[in-house]
Every structure is written in structure tokens, then in C-alpha cells.
């Protein structure tokens, strides 16, 4: 039984099927076409793949919901979703995403100032939180117009990359 996934690359979605044929050999179906690849893990995060005599060598790292793939040609982010899961939860999630937006820290840093309070009405792109990293201050803006539902941080606090700062509804 092959496993099915949906990979999101930029705005495009790719249906992917994967089946193990033998040790080191996978059959990949991408958009209904099949390819056999020879896969070797050559380091903790490094893989060597041969596909039709072509050599691909890359390192992978997870970053939240995405996989960051770094190769000679550059780094690319791929969103990855289990196909079955997407079918069931996709639409609901989208609605949910439409009604609620999360502001997350784009880099590790220190919260210098919180510019809004819970219950405030905010416009899209209105500044919500000021975060300092190294010697620079960055004003993080609201992803959508709405009302402030939650504020998860306070001034002086250190935040990690991807940490939830504010929820707008």
C-alpha cells in the first residue's frame, strides 16, 4: 500500500505517492507518474538520492509545519500534509484560518513593547508588538483586521522563533 502526501511548493500542490520496493529503493508517484529512486542516508540530516542517473544531495530540517531542503542549488521550503488528513480536515482548517490569525515571532528576540490590549479592534498591518533582536527593533504587524483575542507575551520577555505572540479574530 503506497503512502500518499500532498506537498506544497510555493502556490502549487503536488500529489505524491511513496512505496518501498526494496531496501534503499522507493517508488515515487508524482502527479500520477512513477519514478524509482535509490535513497541513502549519508548523515544525520543528509540524503543522497539517485533518480534516472541524476544525483541529488541534500540536507533536510523541519521548521514548524514545513521541511527546509538545502542543496547545492539553494534552500527550498516544502509544506507537507498527509493526503487523508488533508481531505478530512482541510476545509475546516481553512475556515478556521479565515476567522482567526496568529502572529508569530519571525526570529528569536526580546519583546520591547506590546502596542495593543485584548479586545482592541485592529486594522490589517497595524503594529501589534515590537521585538528586538541584536541591535534592531522590529514592529510586527497584524496579519488581518479584527479584534485582539489573546496576547501571549509581555515586554521584557524572550521569545523563540515561531512562538505565538498575539491572536487576532
Amino acid at each position: 500500500m503506497p503512502t500518499r502526501f500532498v506537498a506544497t511548493l510555493g502556490d502549487a500542490e503536488h500529489q505524491i505517492e511513496v512505496k518501498e520496493l526494496a531496501a534503499h529503493t522507493l517508488r515515487l508517484g508524482i502527479g500520477g507518474r512513477d519514478f524509482e529512486v535509490d535513497v541513502r542516508q549519508v548523515g544525520p540530516s543528509s540524503y543522497s538520492i539517485l533518480l534516472e542517473r541524476r544525483s541529488f544531495d541534500f540536507d533536510v530540517a523541519r521548521d514548524g509545519d514545513e521541511v527546509v531542503v538545502a542543496s547545492r542549488r539553494g534552500a527550498t521550503r516544502v509544506g507537507l500534509v498527509d493526503a487523508a488528513r488533508k481531505r478530512h480536515h482541510g476545509p475546516a482548517a481553512r475556515e478556521h484560518a479565515g476567522g482567526r490569525a496568529e502572529l508569530k515571532a519571525m526570529m528569536p528576540g526580546r519583546v520591547v513593547n506590546v502596542l495593543v490590549a485584548v479586545g482592541d479592534d485592529v486594522a490589517q498591518h497595524q503594529g501589534l508588538v515590537v521585538v528586538e533582536a541584536m541591535k534592531m527593533e522590529n514592529e510586527l504587524k497584524s496579519p488581518k483586521a479584527g479584534k485582539i483575542a489573546e496576547i501571549k507575551v509581555k515586554p521584557g520577555q524572550t521569545v523563540e522563533k515561531g512562538e505565538l505572540l498575539v491572536v487576532v479574530e
Partner: protein, 508 residues
């Protein structure tokens, strides 16, 4: 010669100085803040002394702690690197007072060049061309307006105590003048404790070209040719090279002579850099002098064959310069890319974190000066530089080819983002390849969303990788939550059909 040198710095420059010490058979002493106990410079040094908490002013900028460390380890000289105490005359004097040699210029030379307005006057008097502008510091909006009328817009308004790209603003016309004066005056006061400012004419398509100078304690002063540093972002250098693809042999000779004159005018000793701005007509003007070793010194080392840090140590020990002007020649071409933990797509915000995997490029013509190692943390507290990547070739074309290859070999993964792809974009850019750029290049040309992320091959690799990762991790490999609708991800629209076409091509 010294027996033991303390390096009052961290990161790649501390490692660079440790290597020079080791090449000379001198012992090295690292200092470290609490955040840096496991940093590369601590691992590489012969001795290491803790000097305080993570914030630099409590550790790397704590004169007493640094001097205590030197005394405790019996260091007979201190190398300041760049940044931190490197252009601080007070520190240089305190080191000397402790009976320790400061590896750098005399404090008087640091002071004279530190005040940008005084330096302009001094250079003018020494026959060094300076940009048209205000002869002295200004204090009011009207004074600025009067100078602008004389030299013409656009103008640069700069803090007298500034330097290194901080505390300055371009003014395009009279309407912007009032607010710019207020901002610069306030920034100057808060950043440098000195609200004075001055005006320089803003040059047409300015190129930043600097000349490396070197002087010993016996009156010998030479130059080691130029570095072109016009690829900048907010006045911060990003890519440097030597020679400059812009200047003519006559201009090179003249700039070298002027630079030596400038260094002599302040009684300079050691390694220093005279920075010039050149306009499109190849007029050049004194910008400022950096009285220290610079980040970009390796490109000069690659083309001249001189180890500048080693020469700094030898000159500080009282030895005559190990080379005369006639011994110096440029051979080939060198480029340097500054590799940072920063996110170009998010306005270049610092993006530090732990390095999970790191593989450095190598092979012919490639040099890496790194300040971190696989498993190390790029710290939130300091400059997020990972490494300087330098490529040399017999000509600019060969150097660019090697740099492109080296950027491809350079792997960094982990909870951080790097500007490697940004550098790949630069070295592929037709204007960069043609040498046709000025300090506005990045501003004019770089659009994160258009810069793409590696093209079709990278996308195909990404799909393969995603498939393998997903399979390997089973269903746990897929994101547990909803699809990340917000993710802008791989810039631009990627057609699945284009990638499938690519796959088909491979089957041919």
C-alpha cells in the same frame, strides 16, 4: 616577539587571530562571556578566561575584566580584532598603562580619525580630496540648508561621532530636510552621546572603494591596493572584492599614494584602511579611516599573499614591515561573501539559532574563516556572522565561478536561517558579473519574492526530499495541523507541470 597574546574579541576574528598566533608559535588567550563558554574561539585558544555576563558591555567591553584576564594569564600583548575595543583610544591607553602592548595604532591616531569632522579637516590639509560639504560641524537646520544650497541636493547628513554606516541619512530635497535633521541629531545624541553633525554632497552612483595601508614603527608606510565594497545593504558591506572592477591603473596608483599620505598625516602605525567614495566619473573622495583590521581583510591577503594579522603582530613587536612597496603586487582576483544567520526574505532580520549540520566548502581557491562549528549556537547577543567565504581566481571570472561552486558546497541546517541563497543570487546577477554596480545595487535590484529559491532543480530536489522524509517518518512526518495557508514559502508560483516536464527530460 610576544610570548602570549590575549584576543579581546570573539567569533571568526578571534579564531583568525588565534591562527596567526599559532602560525607564529605564539600562545593565545581567549576571553569569553557566559554565553560563549562553548564558542569556537574558546576551544581553539591555548588559554581561556571568563570575563562576564552575555551583554557585551558587561564582558567584551569591560576594560578591567579584560586587563585582569591578561594579567592572570601573563599575556604580553592584546589584539582587539574589529568592533568592540578596536577603535577605542581609552582602551589602547589602559592597555599600555598596564605594561601590555596594544596591537594597533597609537591612541592619538585613533582619536584623530575617530572624530569624522576633524578627520575631514586634517585630510583636506594633507592634500587628500574630501567630498564637498560643510567644512565644520553644524547645529541647526538653516546651517544644513545653506550648505545644501552651495553643494546641491542630494546631500548626506552624518553624525560627527558616527562611522561604520551608523547615524546618517540621505536628503533628496528641501522638503525632507527638516525631519532628517531632527532624526540624525536625536540618533547621534542617543547613540554616540554627541549631537553634532555635518553635511557631505551625495555622489552620483557612488562606489565604495577602500585602500589597505600598513605602517611600521620605523617610518615605513605602504599600501596594499584597493578593495571594492560597493555591494552594501543599509551601509553594511555584504560582498567585497580586490581588485576593484571599476578603477583604472592610474586611479589605483593615485588612490594608493593618497592613502599613504593620509596615514602619514596621523602618524599611523599598523594595519588601517582609508575608505573612499568614487563617483561615476571616477573622482574619489576621502570617506573615513578605519584604524583597525577589517572584516574584509582576507581578499587583500589572497591577492597580495601577505598575512595581514601576522604583520600586525610583527609590527606591534617593533619589527620592521616584512615587505616594501616594491615587493607588493596584486595577483588574481578575490571575492568575499559574508555569511550571516539572517533572513533576507524578512528584511534581513537576524535569525540565529543552533547549527545542526555544517559542511564548509573547500578545494582550489576557497578559504573559509568561520566563527562557529557544527553543533554550536549562533548567539542572540552578538553579530550573527557564521563565516566569511573567500574565493580566489586568476581573474574575476574564475573567482566568481569558484565562489558560486563554494556557495553550493556550503551547508548549514538547524533552527536558523542563512543568507546563503541571497549570496547565490548576487553572484548570478548579470550586473554583478559585469562589475556594473554601485552602493545602491541591492536596494535597486533585490526583491526577495523575485529572487526565487534555486529554480527547477532545487524544486525537484525539494519534492524528492519531501517524499522521502514523509515516507521515512510515516504519518508523523506530515504536518499534524492544518495546511499552512500563510506560508509564502518558495517565492513565486511553481507549476507542477513544469517540474514533471523536468522529470521527463531526465528520462531521455
Amino acid at each position: 616577539m610576544f610570548k602570549r597574546i590575549l584576543i579581546a574579541n570573539r567569533g571568526e576574528i578571534a579564531v583568525r587571530v588565534i591562527r596567526a598566533c599559532r602560525d607564529l608559535g605564539i600562545e593565545s588567550v581567549a576571553v569569553y562571556s557566559e554565553a560563549d563558554r562553548a564558542a569556537l574561539h574558546v576551544r581553539e585558544a591555548d588559554f581561556a578566561v571568563a570575563v562576564g555576563p552575555p551583554p557585551a558591555r558587561e564582558s567584551y567591553l569591560n576594560i578591567e575584566r579584560i586587563l585582569d584576564a591578561a594579567r592572570a594569564t601573563g599575556a604580553d600583548a592584546i589584539h582587539p580584532g574589529y568592533g568592540f575595543f578596536s577603535e577605542n583610544a581609552g582602551f589602547a591607553r589602559a592597555v599600555a598603562a598596564a605594561g601590555i602592548t596594544f596591537i594597533g595604532p597609537p591612541p592619538e591616531a585613533i582619536e584623530k580619525m575617530g572624530d569624522k569632522v576633524e578627520a575631514r579637516k586634517l585630510m583636506s590639509a594633507a592634500g587628500v580630496p574630501v567630498t564637498p560639504g560643510s567644512p565644520d560641524t553644524l547645529e541647526t537646520e538653516d546651517e544644513v540648508r545653506a550648505v545644501a544650497k552651495k553643494v546641491g541636493f542630494p546631500i548626506m547628513l552624518k553624525a560627527a561621532a558616527g562611522g561604520g554606516g551608523k547615524g546618517m541619512r540621505m536628503i533628496e530635497n528641501d522638503a525632507d530636510l527638516a525631519s532628517a535633521v531632527r532624526t540624525v541629531a536625536s540618533e547621534a545624541k542617543s547613540s554616540f552621546g554627541d549631537g553634532r553633525f555635518y553635511v557631505e554632497k551625495y555622489l552620483n552612483r557612488p562606489r565604495h572603494i577602500e585602500v589597505q595601508v600598513f605602517a611600521d614603527q620605523h617610518g615605513e608606510t605602504v599600501h596594499l591596493f584597493e578593495r571594492e565594497c560597493s555591494i552594501q545593504r543599509r551601509h553594511q558591506k555584504v560582498v567585497e572584492e580586490s581588485p576593484s572592477p571599476f578603477i583604472t591603473p592610474a586611479m589605483r596608483r593615485e588612490m594608493g599614494e593618497v592613502a599613504v599620505r593620509a596615514a602619514r598625516a596621523v602618524g599611523y602605525v599598523g594595519a588601517g584602511t582609508i575608505e573612499f567614495l568614487a563617483d561615476a566619473d571616477r573622482n574619489f573622495y576621502f570617506l573615513e579611516m578605519n584604524t583597525r583590521i577589517q572584516v574584509e581583510h582576507p581578499v587583500t591577503e589572497m591577492v597580495t599573499g601577505i598575512d595581514l594579522v601576522k604583520a600586525q603582530i610583527e609590527v606591534a613587536a617593533g619589527m620592521p614591515l616584512p615587505f616594501k612597496q616594491k615587493d607588493l603586487a596584486q595577483r588574481g582576483w578575490a571575492l568575499e561573501c559574508r555569511i550571516y544567520a539572517e533572513d533576507p526574505a524578512a528584511g534581513f532580520v537576524p535569525a540565529p539559532g543552533k547549527i545542526e549540520t555544517m559542511r564548509l566548502p573547500d578545494g582550489p581557491g576557497v578559504r573559509v574563516d568561520a566563527g562557529v562549528y557544527e553543533g554550536a549556537e549562533v548567539s542572540l547577543f552578538y553579530d550573527p556572522m557564521i563565516a566569511k567565504l573567500v574565493a580566489w581566481g586568476r581573474d574575476r571570472n574564475e573567482a566568481i565561478g569558484r565562489m558560486r561552486r563554494a556557495l553550493g558546497e556550503f551547508v548549514v541546517t538547524g533552527a536558523l536561517t542563512t543568507n546563503l541563497d541571497f549570496h547565490r543570487w548576487i553572484v548570478e546577477h548579470p550586473r554583478f558579473i559585469a562589475g556594473d554596480f554601485d552602493t545602491n545595487f541591492i536596494n535597486q535590484e533585490y526583491r526577495p519574492e523575485a529572487a526565487g529559491q534555486g529554480g527547477d532543480d532545487a524544486h525537484l530536489a525539494a519534492l524528492l526530499a519531501a517524499a522521502v522524509m514523509a515516507y521515512r517518518n510515516g504519518h508523523n512526518g506530515a504536518a499534524a495541523a492544518q495546511p499552512t495557508a500563510a506560508a509564502p514559502a518558495a517565492g513565486g508560483v511553481v507549476s507542477p507541470w513544469k517540474i514533471l516536464g523536468r522529470l521527463d527530460m531526465l528520462r531521455r
